[in-house]
């Protein structure tokens, strides 16, 4: 019977069962495939994965991409969140504009930034009209890996900062105004109030935003392919190639398992670093 104590579990049951049904079976199946080849348990798939010429590159590219894009997005999202608390007139409109990228699929983002950054693109048009460039210049090619990397960072930052901002805006709201006002009375400068009051109290939201954004960042794929093609291999891109191009879902699952392990490692790291003590909730 539904009693006071068991009520929460009854409420959680529907979503838990739903996720188990939909994810657990295919997940187990894919996980299973990663560790099997020709009918017995082997690490063959992992070995093929690691020996592949693109593995090293894709690993470091993804890691580097995450380590640059996620903090950059956090900084921008934090600035946006803080600015939103200060804006009075038109606050809804500004928030709307800044959350627009939430509605943009990575398919569309890839197309947009390709138009911007291709050598006959809009940015080159601006640069050449300013005289910096004298003709169409090439950014998105293996010959200019740094430019290509920056292009992908720009596109990813544009596309996925909105989700972080929304979480932080909510977090900032939950902080009662009195704390900030009190700190102000004690003569704390704006910066001091930010670091000493707002940030610590924002920790739970920061944690959620970081975990969610890192998980999704490791699955970055569509934008990188749209801009970089084969020149900037990323883990998910290789997994996709092995699954659909080379028809070997063993190695594809190996890539997926690797991505999962790294994501879990980062999540545990965030949980430890940004540990929010129960009482300080």
């Amino acid at each position: 019977m539904i009693t006071e104590r068991t009520l929460p579990y009854w409420l959680l049951a529907p979503s838990l069962i739903f996720l188990l049904l939909l994810f657990a079976y295919p997940f187990a199946d894919a996980f299973f495939i990663a560790f099997r080849a020709e009918g017995q348990w082997t690490l063959e798939n992992f070995r093929t994965m690691i020996e592949d010429i693109n593995f090293g590159l894709s690993f470091w590219n993804t890691l580097l991409l995450v380590l640059i894009v996620v903090p950059l997005q956090l900084a921008i999202a934090l600035t946006m969140a803080m600015m939103l608390t200060k804006i009075r007139a038109g606050r809804d409109l500004v928030l709307y504009v800044w959350t627009i990228p939430l509605g943009i699929s990575d398919l569309a983002a890839g197309v947009v930034w390709l138009a911007l950054l291709s050598e006959r693109g809009y940015i080159n048009t601006i640069l050449s009209s300013l005289g910096i460039l004298d003709g169409p210049a090439l950014w998105l090619s293996y010959e200019t890996p740094v430019a290509l990397f920056i292009a992908v960072v720009l596109a990813e930052t544009w596309r996925a900062t909105a989700i972080v901002m929304v979480i932080l805006v909510a977090g900032v709201q939950l902080i009662p105004k009195e704390y900030n006002e009190a700190a102000e009375i004690f003569g704390a400068s704006a910066w001091k109030r930010f670091t000493k009051v707002t940030l610590p109290l924002l920790k739970p939201s920061l944690q959620t935003a970081l975990i969610l954004r890192t998980l999704l960042a490791f699955e970055v794929f569509a934008v990188v392919v749209a801009l970089g093609g084969r020149d900037l291999p990323v883990l998910m891109g290789e997994a996709f190639l092995w699954q659909f191009d080379y028809r070997d879902n063993g190695v594809a699952s190996a890539y997926a398992v690797l991505t999962l392990v790294i994501s879990i490692a980062f999540t545990v790291l965030y949980l430890r670093v940004l540990r929010v003590k129960e009482e300080a909730q």
Partner: protein, 428 residues
């Protein structure tokens, strides 16, 4: 409290009843990896299948989801797809998973038209049974912007170039314009692996597998790496060469005829088509063969057979040529009221096939589901040697090892231009 739990579940149940998917009408689902670009797909539905007296739903699909779907339906035992249209390279995966219905009877039923013999043979995939009926063919040719012709090296005939002349030509262009205007389709969805397997290797080593790491191959890669200095670096993200051609990013390009057709049709006076260059061992070239097959226990076999008959009729073959630039797989002479683009490409294809030093190679057979990994060997070699500048000998040794492992695993016999082999094709 369980009111909430109830409402959550009832919402899911209601929608399950309401929207369990619209019942598919009695139409034949024609799933194909060809004519995927939106204009070509529309052309298939309206011009080619327009006159078919039956319901057909033409659904283009990328290779990955296409294979994934058919294998999944075969494994689940519930097949909804009526007819399959794909390139020769896609079929071995399905054949090795027994997802295809043998259609020797269908082939004999098409007596009144002359299907090209070598393609019918290819349709057996090296086995006794007929897996697919030849549907249409194409080939890879070169295209060039007329502005580039002025930079042709002395005495070079564009309709019978050699690779050295091509390299020289490209060098002249980049010297004159300051931009590298030679382009290759080395993007994710480009067909660069076909260029190595069907054009470069046969032209330089008269082989694809056995001579993979011979000295001729080493010389080949060296000269190709040299030529690459004049190739537009964006090539590693070009899938369809017609786009860079029309954007003037590239003046000379190599690609599948259907992937150049848009440029020929839209600006027939600006572009010319010409056969691929020749190397020391002749002018290697390879056909592109597409076939029609029926999935194992397909819903309505008769309808599928009727559709195959319709697709292989001469008048439909002509409509297909006009619509998507694929040439007939039936021996027939082409009418002269074809669109300019088709005429331009057609001339290059027949010139290439009829060239004196023609060295045709066939499509790989018997690779099963390792076809794509076979392509990966060539692409990885290209990536390492040309893009990342690795040592040629070491790379060829390592990749030859992969190729040898692949051949032994699949036991695939050699195919033209390699000499036929009894067991698995050896890699010297």
């Amino acid at each position: 409290m369980n009111a909430i739990v109830k409402t959550g579940l009832s919402a899911a149940a209601v929608s399950a009843l309401l929207l369990s998917g619209l019942p598919a009408t009695a139409e034949t689902i024609f799933l194909s990896t060809q004519a995927r670009p939106i204009e070509e797909a529309e052309a298939m539905r309206n011009e080619v299948l327009g006159q078919y007296d039956g319901e057909v739903d033409y659904i283009p699909q990328e290779d990955g989801p296409f294979l994934n779907r058919i294998l999944a339906e075969a494994e689940a035992g519930k097949v909804s797809v009526g007819l399959l249209g794909a390139l020769h390279g896609n079929f071995p995966v399905l054949a090795s998973a027994d997802a295809l219905e043998p259609i020797d009877d269908v082939l004999s039923g098409l007596g009144d038209r002359k299907l090209i013999g070598t393609f019918v043979e290819l349709g057996k995939l090296g086995t006794g049974k007929q897996h697919y009926v030849p549907w249409m063919q194409a080939s890879y040719v070169m295209a060039a912007n007329r502005q580039a012709l002025q930079y042709l090296p002395e005495g070079a005939d564009v309709m019978a170039l050699t690779y050295d002349q091509l390299a020289q030509w490209a060098a002249n262009v980049s010297a004159a314009t300051g931009e590298r205007k030679l382009g290759f389709p080395a993007g994710r969805k480009g067909l660069m692996h076909r260029f190595f397997q069907g054009y470069l290797y046969p032209s330089f080593t008269d082989s694809v597998v056995t001579e993979y790491r011979s000295d001729k191959a080493v010389a080949m890669w060296a000269s190709f790496k040299e030529m690459w200095k004049h190739v537009n670096p964006r090539s590693t993200s070009y899938d369809f060469m017609q786009e860079p051609l029309m954007a003037d990013e590239v003046w000379i390009a190599f690609d599948h005829t259907a992937r150049l057709m848009d440029a020929f049709n839209r600006r027939p006076d600006d572009f010319i088509a010409f056969p691929a260059p020749a190397g020391p061992e002749g002018r290697g070239f390879m056909p592109v063969v597409a076939g029609l097959a029926i999935p194992a226990n397909a819903p309505d076999r008769a309808a599928a057979v009727k559709l195959i008959d319709y697709m292989t009729r001469p008048e439909t073959q002509i409509e297909t040529l006009k619509a998507i630039g694929f040439f007939p797989a039936v021996e027939m002479d082409l009418p002269d009221d074809l669109p300019r683009g088709v005429q331009i490409a057609g001339a290059a294809v027949s010139a290439q096939a009829a060239s004196a030093d023609a060295n045709p190679s066939l499509l790989p057979v018997g690779l099963g589901d390792k076809g794509r990994e076979f392509n990966k060997v060539f692409l990885d070699t290209f990536q390492l040697i040309v893009i990342r500048g690795a040592d040629i000998d070491k790379t060829l040794d390592r990749q030859a090892g992969n190729l040898r492992k692949l051949m032994e695993e699949t036991g695939a016999p050699c195919w033209a231009p390699d000499e036929p082999s009894s067991g698995a094709c050896p890699v010297k």
